[in-house]
């Protein structure tokens, strides 16, 4: 458990940040999903093979946990895209350093959002993003370029920043 404790300390911040952005700024939900992901990782820690980095494995668990949550929610609300909706005023979106950018990524699809966050925020290479999301590298690249177009379009529409 000590090894796992060190692992949690190292990974909790990037994982929570990733899930927080995926959940459109809902801190409570993001932390619940992060905890669930860590517990899943803890339970199957012995099954981890060293074929990939352990953090890649954890992010994959987290991403799948998030996708499962969106699927479960599908029956209740309008589905997968709902999770990517722009957060309401009650969410802690305002605590982000760049509110405008987060409002923009809130308009991306879940897959676009995931690959963009992993690529730009967590500095993951395409190969790892592909492992985490289960998409092939070309699909990741096409999601990334579409997301970049959407982001630039949205931000220039707003007239705030030129990127």
């Amino acid at each position: 458990m000590n090894d796992f404790g060190t692992f949690v300390r190292q990974q909790q911040e990037p994982l929570r940040r990733f899930l927080l952005s995926l959940c459109g700024g809902d801190l409570q939900l993001a932390d619940d999903l992060a905890q669930e992901s860590f517990i899943k990782a803890y339970v199957s820690f012995h099954t981890f093979g060293s074929r990939s980095r352990i953090s890649t494995w954890l992010f994959r668990i987290a991403y799948n946990t998030f996708i499962d949550w969106t699927r479960k929610r599908k029956g209740e609300t309008s589905g997968l895209e709902e999770a990517g909706a722009v957060p309401s005023d009650e969410t802690p979106e305002k605590q982000f350093g760049n509110e405008e950018l987060y409002l923009a990524i809130g308009r991306l699809s879940v897959h676009e959002k995931a690959v963009t966050l992993l690529f730009y925020m967590e500095d993951r290479p395409i190969r790892e993003i592909s492992e985490i999301t289960g998409m092939n590298a070309n699909t990741v690249k096409s999601h990334l370029s579409r997301a970049r177009m959407h982001l630039k379009g949205y931000l220039s529409e707003k007239g705030g920043r030129q990127i």
Binding site: M1, R16, Y120, L144, I163
Partner: protein
């Protein structure tokens, strides 16, 4: 794939840093603690299941041994060896001679009871959870 530098800069400057990491970790540790206890409980249940299976196997084996011994005694004591090859008929006659007297029967019964008792003791020992730890 080449990164858009301005986008990357924007994402980096927008990174969230959590001030409640310790609280998050202690909540997680508490949940993992429950998980750990649950694992121990599952392990114990599994041990118990294995023990019961061993007990059942031991009892079945003991019962089968006893049945076989009884059948052998009945078969060999009775005069139903007609049609058997000579070598088997001779062996049966020897057994019948042996079991025909009181000492032989008692010896046979004692051996049967001892085998059965050993099987039982073995079964009970194997079935106790401490033996599989």
């Amino acid at each position: 794939m080449k990164k858009d530098r301005e986008l990357q800069e924007l994402f980096r400057s927008g990174k969230v840093h959590f001030s409640d990491s310790e609280e998050f970790i202690s909540r997680l540790e508490s949940r993992m603690g429950y998980c750990h206890h649950y694992d121990i409980l599952l392990e114990r249940l599994e041990q118990e299941r294995r023990s019961r299976r061993r007990l059942a196997v031991a009892l079945a084996a003991s019962s089968a041994a006893l049945t076989a011994a009884t059948a052998a005694v009945i078969f060999l004591s009775a005069d139903i060896t007609a049609g058997l090859p000579d070598i088997l008929r001779e062996a049966a006659e020897k057994v019948r001679d042996f079991t025909g007297n009181g000492n032989g029967q008692r010896t046979l019964l004692a051996v049967g009871a001892a085998i059965s008792f050993t099987c039982m003791v073995l079964g009970i020992r194997l079935s106790s959870p401490s033996s599989v730890r």
